[in-house]
Amino acid sequence: MDLSVTENSSLNENCFLLKLTSDQKLPDMLPGQFAEIKVEGSPPTFLRRPISINNYCTETNELWLLVQKAGDGTRTMGNLKKSDTLNLIFPLGNSFSFPENNSKSVLLVGGGIGTAPMLFWGKYLKEKGYSPNFLLGARSASDLLQLDDLNQYGTVYTTTEDGSYGEKGLVTQHSILQDKNFGFIYACGPKPMMVAVARYAKTRSVPCEVSLENTMACGFGVCLCCVENTVNGHICVCTEGPVFNINELLWQI
């Protein structure tokens, strides 16, 4: 589907927020899902690039993508201007699940660009009567993204490695993890961070879902390139993920 850019704003040196819309109503989508994006004008970028749905506003018919410049593909996307067209296949993948217990207080952990899916999920949870707590970890203050947006939907806790904002340290060292109890934990970020969060959740017997990355060729389940090894064998991250319950994974946690 061709969407048109309504805004491209740079959030810091490496990250930008793309807002997209269409004349047609955007299809329904769920938090945790992603889009496969065709990047034009980037010679090394042969395949589409998977990017999480950062937000979806039904009122404005807008889709947001929060993107970090990792290589030529994402850098080239960063040059998009208002009214430019972008081709997306979406929505793809599964989505986060609601807590099955009655606990309304849940924790959404985002490391670095891993916060991308959390805005949409936090908003969604809030709408359904939950109390989201966001816990974000980044290298430095300028790497903490969309704090104002997140604040609308829940309490935001932060850590930075250099201590320039919030508590100093890694996300998994934040005091909130000792001080509060949560009914469900959701995490997205670098694998070591997700493993640490999973370990925390497991120790406390809190249900936990993580959103995984993988190298994807198609994004819709036909190439079988993106498998995660799980208790059910090799499973495609693009269709049966990207969100997995940690109990399904064979991680050393």
Binding site: F46, L47, C218, F220, C225
Partner: protein
């Protein structure tokens, strides 16, 4: 509307555009994008006698104008296919072709026998060219005598249309094609992936868990076109051309080089509607250039 029909063995295809095995799932995944009964045929995933987990992750590396894969024939086995998947596919009005893979001749034969029972599977594509499994596939496809052996064994148990898929990782692909033809293959399809490798300089490791993998996409098109051209002149049975086809123009090039039909693989990942656009594009090309039928351009390259 030009006449797009072509014939491969006993199959009458409504047009020469098919999908390449391993790049189209079981077709169903594409039904959101278009009506798959518009395809000349669709070749589903590599299917083996026993279920296979495939290779460990990572299985994919992007390369200049292409990609490497090391899927390793992950599939749930032919019985699962017959019981669970086939019933969902059998009423689609297009040719359903199963890509039969394996490591030992007996497995190929047993897998084929099971497929032969499925009425609406009108052909098999014998994959003797998968570079991603340890013993198997490619070893058969890189030697004319073992290629001949396996075709002979499968031909015995399979009366329907038998397509043999050839490996490009050989000195002389026409030799293997002729061996397949001699043992009764109805058609050969080429190329499967070129054996390649990617390295992560920072990590000082191969990108793929299997070290080497299969290269596909536009980067291989010049090699594929050359092999199709050579093979079409070397055998009498129809040749199915593939390797790097991204649009109707590429498809026309393969037809001109001598392919009776074509398959589209990797391009499905980038544009899920590429097959339909290719069918339409071939039709327009024929109309624009005054050809009443696609058969007029097959092998029509002027040297």
């Amino acid at each position: 509307m030009a006449d797009l029909r072509v014939k491969i063995g006993q199959l009458d295809l409504k047009n020469p555009v098919m999908t390449a095995s391993g790049t189209f799932g079981y077709g169903e995944e594409f039904s959101d994008f278009f009506d798959i009964s518009r395809l000349g045929g669709y070749i589903v995933k590599g299917t083996t006698l026993a279920p296979r987990q495939g290779n460990a992750y990572p299985r994919m590396a992007e390369t200049p104008a292409g990609m490497l894969n090391a899927v390793g024939l992950q599939n749930k086995g032919v019985h699962y296919f017959a019981d669970e998947i086939y019933p969902r596919l059998k009423d689609i009005d297009s040719h359903l072709i199963v890509n039969v893979s394996g490591s030992a001749i007996e497995d190929y034969v047993a897998c084929t026998e099971k497929i032969a029972e499925l009425e609406k599977v009108t052909a098999i594509e014998l994959n003797i060219s998968c570079p991603n499994v340890k013993q198997g596939g490619m070893a058969f496809g890189t030697c004319a005598s073992s290629a001949g052996d396996i075709v002979r064994a499968v031909r015995k148990v399979y009366p329907k249309t038998l397509i043999v898929k050839l490996s490009p990782n050989v000195t002389d692909i026409t030799e293997i094609a002729r061996a397949a033809e001699a043992e009764g293959a109805d058609s050969v399809s080429l190329i499967n992936t070129l054996l390649g490798m990617a390295i992560d300089a920072d990590k000082r490791r191969p990108v793929l868990s299997t070290v080497t993998g299969g290269l596909s996409g536009p980067c291989v098109k010049p090699v594929a076109l050359r092999m199709v051209w050579q093979t079409a002149r070397a055998v009498k049975i129809p040749v199915i051309g593939l390797g790097g086809i991204m649009n109707w123009k590429d498809a026309v090039e393969f037809l001109l080089a001598g392919a009776t039909a074509i398959q589209i693989g990797t391009a499905n990942f980038i544009d899920p509607e590429v097959t339909i656009k290719t069918i339409d594009g071939i039709n327009e090309y024929l109309n624009k250039n005054g050809y009443s039928s696609v058969s007029k351009i097959i092998g029509a390259l002027e040297i």
